[in-house]
Symmetry: C2
Subunit: 404 residues, 2 copies
């Protein structure tokens, strides 16, 4: 993704031309970027030879998941729908882990039938429920237990998941109780210890704390876990921050604290795989001038892209066609939804914009389309994948008759 002669291109496709063909707003993904992210992720952890399970919740588009599968990743799923989608994309059940605090009876049954690698359980009750189903089906089911390491990920409170007060996982005491319980069970086989401490993590410290907790517990209980699932959470820069996660230090810490255990490491990355591989292309419907600022009213709204409204997330906005003239006013980029929440970003000294011009909301590959809705009875946008200059319609724009 780059400008060629002032015109933004995804791989070698001119975005202005693409927008004429597909109408706005639409998501556009770069296969090159996706591939690069996966290669990099593998390279960063090459000494661990981990199983990398893509977190489907971050992007559940079938075409995207198919590409991710071809690039060698498994899947981390959190619902029957996500598991079905992963299987539909051709992912081997033996590379699928099922996470989540509220797996229903039907979801557990489905997962057991599909013989996936692991069901990572998050509570006593869930373990008992799995055992009950396994007994009925006369099967031995492989599970993990999610430990809540009581580690503050120092991240946005809305996306922290590994503190004592969070709903996720079980504490050390219950973890040990469950290990002992499962040892005696005929129907469940404990293969994995799993953790996941949050999202958008840039520091090594929280991970190191988490690894220390795992090390302490595993060495204490002397149980051989075939897998240790470290979850995801590695951050990506959304603004111009210089934040870069130090993968090398993380790998070193993992080897330092867990190397001796001979457990296969599992990662569940989402954002770091697909986040910067997607953009949202939108047209300026109206510009509303006022003395202090101009409202740039886009045809993309919070129903298309929820992160700014939901998390206060700030995503870079750039023009599709670069010009030299810049404006002295503040530009406030907003959507057409009848709500103040429907606001993307305020920018000073943006280039001078006109109505009908196109802009790009950056880094929306993760938690973009997957969080979209039909609020205000608006269609969900199209999703386009660019792969080696081929234009693939990864998802058609919804028609009104599809949902009203």
């Amino acid at each position: 993704m780059k400008y060629i002669k002032s015109n933004f291109h995804v791989e070698d496709v001119n975005l202005q031309k693409l927008a004429k063909k597909f109408d706005t707003p639409f998501y556009c993904y770069s296969y090159e970027k996706l591939k690069k992210n996966i290669i990099n992720f593998k390279y960063h952890f090459r000494k661990l030879n981990p199983l990398i399970c893509f977190a489907i919740k971050s992007n559940s588009n079938l075409s995207i998941i198919k590409e991710i599968k071809k690039l060698g990743l498994g899947a981390d799923v959190v619902s029957k729908g996500e598991l079905a989608q992963a299987l539909k994309a051709g992912i081997n059940p033996k590379q699928i882990v099922f996470s989540g605090v509220g797996k229903s009876h039907l979801e557990l049954k489905y997962a057991i039938e599909k013989k996936i690698l692991l069901i990572n359980s998050e509570s006593k009750s869930e373990v008992f429920e799995i055992e009950k189903i396994a007994k009925l089906k006369k099967k031995i089911v492989n599970i993990g237990i999610r430990l809540n390491p009581n580690t503050d990920a120092k991240t946005l409170s809305k996306i922290s998941t590994g503190k004592k007060g969070d709903k996720f996982g079980v504490n050390e005491k219950i973890f040990i109780e469950l290990v002992n319980y499962i040892k005696k069970s005929k129907y469940i086989n404990l293969k994995c210890l799993s953790v996941h401490i949050g999202s958008q993590i840039f520091e090594n410290k929280p991970y190191e704390k988490m690894l220390k907790v795992i090390n302490r517990i595993v060495s204490k209980i002397k149980y051989e876990f075939e897998y240790i699932d470290l979850g995801g959470g590695i951050g990506i820069p959304y603004q111009n921050e210089k934040k870069i996660f130090n993968y090398n230090n993380y790998q070193k810490s993992i080897i330092k604290y867990l190397g001796k255990y001979n457990s296969k490491i599992i990662f569940e990355p989402g954002r770091s795989i697909v986040g910067n591989a997607g953009i949202l292309v939108s047209k300026i419907i109206y510009i509303k001038e006022s003395q202090s600022k101009n409202f740039i009213i886009l045809d993309a709204g919070m129903n298309d892209f929820m992160r700014p409204a939901l998390y206060g997330a700030k995503h870079k906005i750039i023009p599709v066609n670069k010009k030299n003239k810049s404006s002295n006013k503040i530009y406030e980029f907003v959507g057409p939804i009848c709500e103040s929440t429907d606001k993307f970003l305020s920018i000073k000294k943006f280039q001078k914009l006109n109505e009908n011009e196109l802009i790009i909301i950056c880094d929306v590959g993760a938690y973009g389309s997957s969080l979209s809705s039909n609020y205000n009875l608006r269609s969900k946008p199209a999703e386009i994948l660019i792969k080696n200059s081929r234009i693939i319609i990864a998802k058609k724009r919804q028609k009104l008759r599809d949902f009203i």
Copy 2:
């Protein structure tokens, strides 16, 4: 909606039995409550004989809109989809107003073709766009202009819409410019001044300020508006607050400030019509005990009901079957979604709960199903309308194959 012998009923339908039939989670609406709200709303403003346009964005379920239509209301729409839905429900185009800051060219064309009562424009550019289309189609189009009265609604900043810094409407100067411009236009006819200052308003003060501004401007420009559209925004209590909006004072103020103008008043209520007419019924999948609190893990998540995650809204939670035993622990009601945001409410001294029991999230008729999504590839819930003990499936639960 009430308990009969400890069992919650919607009209005379036992909710426990209903849940067996439809599986959880599902939305359930009471026709009686809807009807009562509409009758009350009309009664409160009986001296004004207003046109009441239901804000479709608050609940866009076709069956619900049909009932609202039969009870005599028009519609306030904010997109082509909502306009199509209102027409599908049988609402007379002459009782439909079209609001919103970002109406696209296609949406305006559609609205003009359907000959709706008013397009309430929110910017200079939009007025010019309407004129252009009207000219092409050789039609005279009736419009309103939305004035931003620069009135602080003293409400949650996320749902304020009438302050200077908000994206909505035009300021006084531009309003007057537009009135003068439209006077000379052959293709647009200015029929309405519209305002809308926000949501969840309980005080009369902000409305009174708004009315003063309207009065000042209308008397200054001496333009006869056939309609004055006062928008919506009247609050409903979500917790046990004693807040009750004083309709009588509002009506008095409207007569005091606008009575002399002979303009028909339009209201655009949403929440006050449908908010307390809907509940979300959910089953407890697991209970996770910890020392200080118990997590009550529901089968309803933020994808089903977004307001707590999006606005920090607190909706009452009550049991379907009342019992006498209460718990000393804090119960934290959370959803199954893999996110800390997926949390509904913390309650002390709730009755003792068990897994598989049913609970009710209250007052979700407005901005409930309309904001639902397929996040985590979860199906949107069913919507059931109870009307005179008849059980009407207002919307079937989505099947996985409908969206993956």
